[in-house]
């Protein structure tokens, strides 16, 4: 594979797309399976396509080039007392804004207000004909045109290359408090997740740690309120409040996937709280496999010791009717339950008539 091209402006990005018969955009490559496609393909790195184009704290919006790292965004927003509530993953590893959108991966903090799809407002992207197009808007409310910005979330660069993204942001909560709650295992933990999610407490994040029995609940808001709510939670389930340092380390380890097997496969699965015990059993029946349930039991990240998850796991996913995507490893891109409507092919043709971007099946 030749060195990636590194366009530094949206116009240069469009030009690079036009100049090659087959192209795929890559960011920091923190989710390498998503860009490993067969055959000859010119890689367009967004390494030099970076920087904040516009940031108006009073508007609760910013616009940045696709290659800007989410860490840099976090710093700029933090300086103005704001943040991206969907809690981008792999921030310390250098994940880019464009890669975060294209992969559709959000962090634990998206429990409260929603995921990357709920905060994206507008995009500039290059379609398969090499046209630089703007879709969506730069204001927090807009419904003119089709919502292609949302469609790009999870689209893996197969329909277009992102040049620039506009997001909604929120003011950073006054304080945070994280509780670790002990349970007897996945079955009990799933009940804690569901009960806490349906409570009056307004948790900010609600995760089941890879140990399979510790639930981490994060609260956000004015400090006196968090103390009162945490006393109520700890009266219900055994557990403890973490120090700020411990809490930061716990959430950072989850966001950076430090609990996963280096070199092993990593699969994201869309789940529901009720299926948490069954998926936990299926995953742990494979020697050494670890799983982190996030977002109150709506997302599972499954890490395997081997580069490819055993076919038995894939079959189990299909049997449970759960869809997944491989972020790292040698497994097929999509795993588990999946149906491909005819219109999917028509939309691919509409945006990429010459198949300049890789197939959605690669």
């Amino acid at each position: 594979m030749t060195e990636p091209l590194t366009p530094a402006t949206p116009a240069a990005l469009a030009e690079a797309v036009r100049a090659h018969p087959r192209v795929l955009a890559v960011g920091a490559r923190t989710k390498p399976r998503l860009s490993r496609v067969p055959g000859e393909v010119a890689l367009l790195s967004t390494r030099d396509l970076r920087g904040i184009v516009e940031y108006e704290p009073e508007e609760f919006t910013f616009t940045a080039l696709a290659g800007t790292s989410v860490r840099e965004i976090g710093r700029a927003l933090g300086a103005k007392g704001q943040y991206l509530p969907f809690d981008p993953m792999w921030a310390e590893a250098g994940a880019t804004l464009g890669g975060t959108v294209a992969s559709g991966v959000s962090g634990p903090g998206r429990f409260r207000f929603g995921s990357v799809r709920d905060f994206i407002l507008g995009i500039r992207f290059v379609d398969g004909m090499g046209r630089l197009l703007r879709m969506g808007g730069k204001v927090v409310k807009n419904c003119a045109g089709f919502d292609l910005p949302k469609f790009m979330v999870g689209s893996l660069g197969r329909y277009g290359v992102l040049a620039e993204v506009t997001f909604k942001v929120f003011p950073t909560p006054a304080s945070h408090l994280t509780l670790k709650l002990s349970t007897s295992g996945a079955e009990a933990a799933a009940r804690v997740l569901a009960d806490a999610a349906n409570s009056r407490w307004e948790c900010d994040a609600l995760d089941l740690l890879p140990d399979g029995k510790t639930v981490c609940a994060r609260l956000a808001g004015p400090a006196p309120a968090l103390e009162a709510v945490s006393r109520e939670i700890l009266a219900r389930w055994p557990g403890q409040a973490l120090s700020a340092t411990e809490a930061d380390a716990t959430w950072s380890d989850l966001r950076e996937f430090r609990w996963t097997h280096p070199g092993g496969a990593l699969v994201k699965v869309a789940v529901t709280p009720s299926v948490v015990p069954a998926l936990d059993t299926a995953a742990r029946s494979i020697e050494g496999t670890r799983v982190h349930f996030s977002v109150g039991g709506n997302v599972a990240f499954v890490s395997f010791p081997a580069p490819a998850p055993p076919t038995a796991f894939q079959e189990r996913l299909r049997a449970l009717g759960l869809p997944g995507v491989t972020l790292r490893g040698d497994a097929p891109l999509w795993c588990g339950a999946r149906s491909i409507p005819a219109v999917a092919g028509a939309i691919k043709q509409a945006l990429d008539p010459e198949n300049r971007f890789p197939s959605t099946e690669d």
Partner: protein, 480 residues
């Protein structure tokens, strides 16, 4: 009845294909009463299978169709087409599943917005999007137009609350996207379908996320001598780091209307009223309410009134939500606009709108979602006066163009429909519109699903009179 309609009638039990002029008259118009078109027929399916059969028939026969819920679209989204049929979805009103553990509801498209929250209330859950027409508008229509409401800054629009969709596409293909999980795998098809204004097909089953109802509210109403002062107060609240659930402003003319309609009482002498609402756990609201009150007090209101109990809070919202239809009492006719500007330019936008209104010799009432820069200027006119409608439309157009110039949008929540067809090119260039047309062609190669909406089609419907919708006159519908 034509031969095609005879065959269409055979798809449904007797009496569920309406073709009589008196029957069709009720479907000629929607919330945008200026437009009126008589369809060939109105089909009234009662099951999703019947909807699929109807769409497949339309595809086979190249017969245009327009899906309709309660007909509350303010942009003419459910206006019929003369060479096609209306598929009325009002009888698909079943809540198929309500799951308090997964916090979701699966509903048919004809379910009325507030019915979802009502059904979820025993579980202390609710469905967040709350357009002003929530008492009558349907979830299917909300999905088609990505409806908003007063709580969009914090909670987003309809699309942010749709977990899954089963839909019939204009080709007759039935698709299922997303599902019970709050996470999605692959591109966000539900997001693309939302807000497609009926051009991508008809939603048959919609999975909605439900949220725990906020435990506690703190609602403050404040009156100001000028709109600018109210706008400055919004900026101060936003800069404070608080995240209110709602931030709404009404101007003097809107206040006059609300006072007349629901006997709302506002601070005497107020040229603008601001409504701010905090919500959360009782502990969080207790901790933040003092801060909010101090910010409002420092913004020099004539008077501020924190709601002391639930009854006072409801009264504040009743005045706000009634303001649109109340304006109908001030003027024989009016146009509701729906532009968005960056929040920091609200004051400037209102000032320039005022100047343009004076130049045009028209009165404009303003009600807006200040938290997200969504303006709803109501342009008052008397359709009996020659040229008044044209002057009002010209002013509406100038306001929308100003919104785009300021970096905003021609529509925050009402959609393009037929009303804003001329203004889409102000936001998108020819390549961008071509891209959207390609998407539309991929979903609907024959161009039979709601043709003439969102993008122009030859033979646009003629303008008729404006005025209150019959449902508004009956007090069943309000505009926002």
């Amino acid at each position: 009845m034509s031969e095609v309609l005879h065959r269409l009638a055979a798809l449904l039990p007797p009496d569920r294909l309406l073709t009589g002029p008196a029957q069709l008259a009720a479907y000629e118009s929607d919330g945008l009463t200026a437009y009126r078109t008589r369809p060939l027929a109105v089909a009234v399916p009662e099951t999703t299978d019947e909807v699929v059969a109807l769409v497949r028939f339309c595809h086979k026969e190249r017969l245009p169709f327009v899906a309709r819920g309660s007909g509350t679209s303010l942009s003419g989204g459910s206006l019929p087409v003369a060479d096609g049929i209306v598929i009325a979805l009002n009888r698909l009103t079943r809540i198929l599943r309500l799951d308090p553990v997964q916090r979701l509801a699966v509903v048919e498209p004809g379910v009325v917005n507030t019915q979802v929250s009502l059904a979820a209330a025993p579980h202390r859950l609710h469905y967040a999007p709350d357009p002003s027409s929530a008492l009558i508008c349907t979830i299917g229509g909300n999905v088609a137009f990505n409806s908003g409401g007063a709580h969009c800054l914090k909670y987003g629009m309809t699309a942010n609350h749709i977990l899954g969709l089963k839909a019939v596409l204009p080709t007759g293909e039935v698709v299922e996207w997303g599902g019970a999980s709050r996470e999605k795998i692959g591109p966000d098809w539900c997001g693309l379908f939302n807000g497609s204004e009926g051009l991508f097909g008809i939603a048959l089953e919609i999975t909605l996320q439900l949220l725990p109802r906020a435990e506690c509210f703190h609602t403050v109403l404040a009156g100001y001598r000028t709109l600018e002062q109210a706008g400055d107060a919004v900026s101060a609240v936003v800069a404070s780091g608080l995240l209110p659930g709602a931030l709404e402003i009404m101007d003097a003319l809107a206040l006059e209307a609300a006072t007349a309609a629901v006997h709302a009482e506002y601070p005497p002498g107020a040229e603008a009223v601001l409504i701010v609402e905090l919500e959360g756990t009782r502990e969080a609201v207790a901790a933040d309410r003092g801060r909010l009150d101090a910010i409002i007090a420092a913004s020099k209101p004539i008077e501020m009134r924190p709601a002391r109990d639930a009854e006072e809070r409801i009264a504040i919202w009743k005045g706000r939500k009634s303001a649109f239809s109340a304006v109908g009492r001030l003027s024989p006719d009016f146009i509701v606009q729906d532009g968005v500007v960056p929040r920091r330019r609200l004051g400037e936008a209102l000032r320039r709108n005022g100047e343009m209104a004076r130049e045009a010799g028209l009165r404009v009432a303003n009600v807006f979602h200040a938290g997200d820069g969504n303006l709803h200027p109501l342009i008052l006119f008397d359709g009996r006066q020659a040229g008044a409608l044209e002057r009002a439309e010209a002013l509406a157009g100038r306001i929308l163009k100003l919104c785009v110039e300021m970096g905003g949008s021609i529509t925050g929540e009402h959609g393009v429909g037929v009303e804003k067809l001329d203004y889409l090119p102000a936001m998108y260039n020819a390549d961008e519109i071509d891209c959207m047309m390609r998407l539309r062609a991929a979903f609907d190669p024959l161009c039979i699903a709601n043709p003439g909406k969102k993008f122009p089609r030859a033979g646009a419907p003629a303008l008729q009179h404006r005025g209150l919708h019959p449902l508004e006159k009956a007090g069943l519908l309000s505009r926002e």
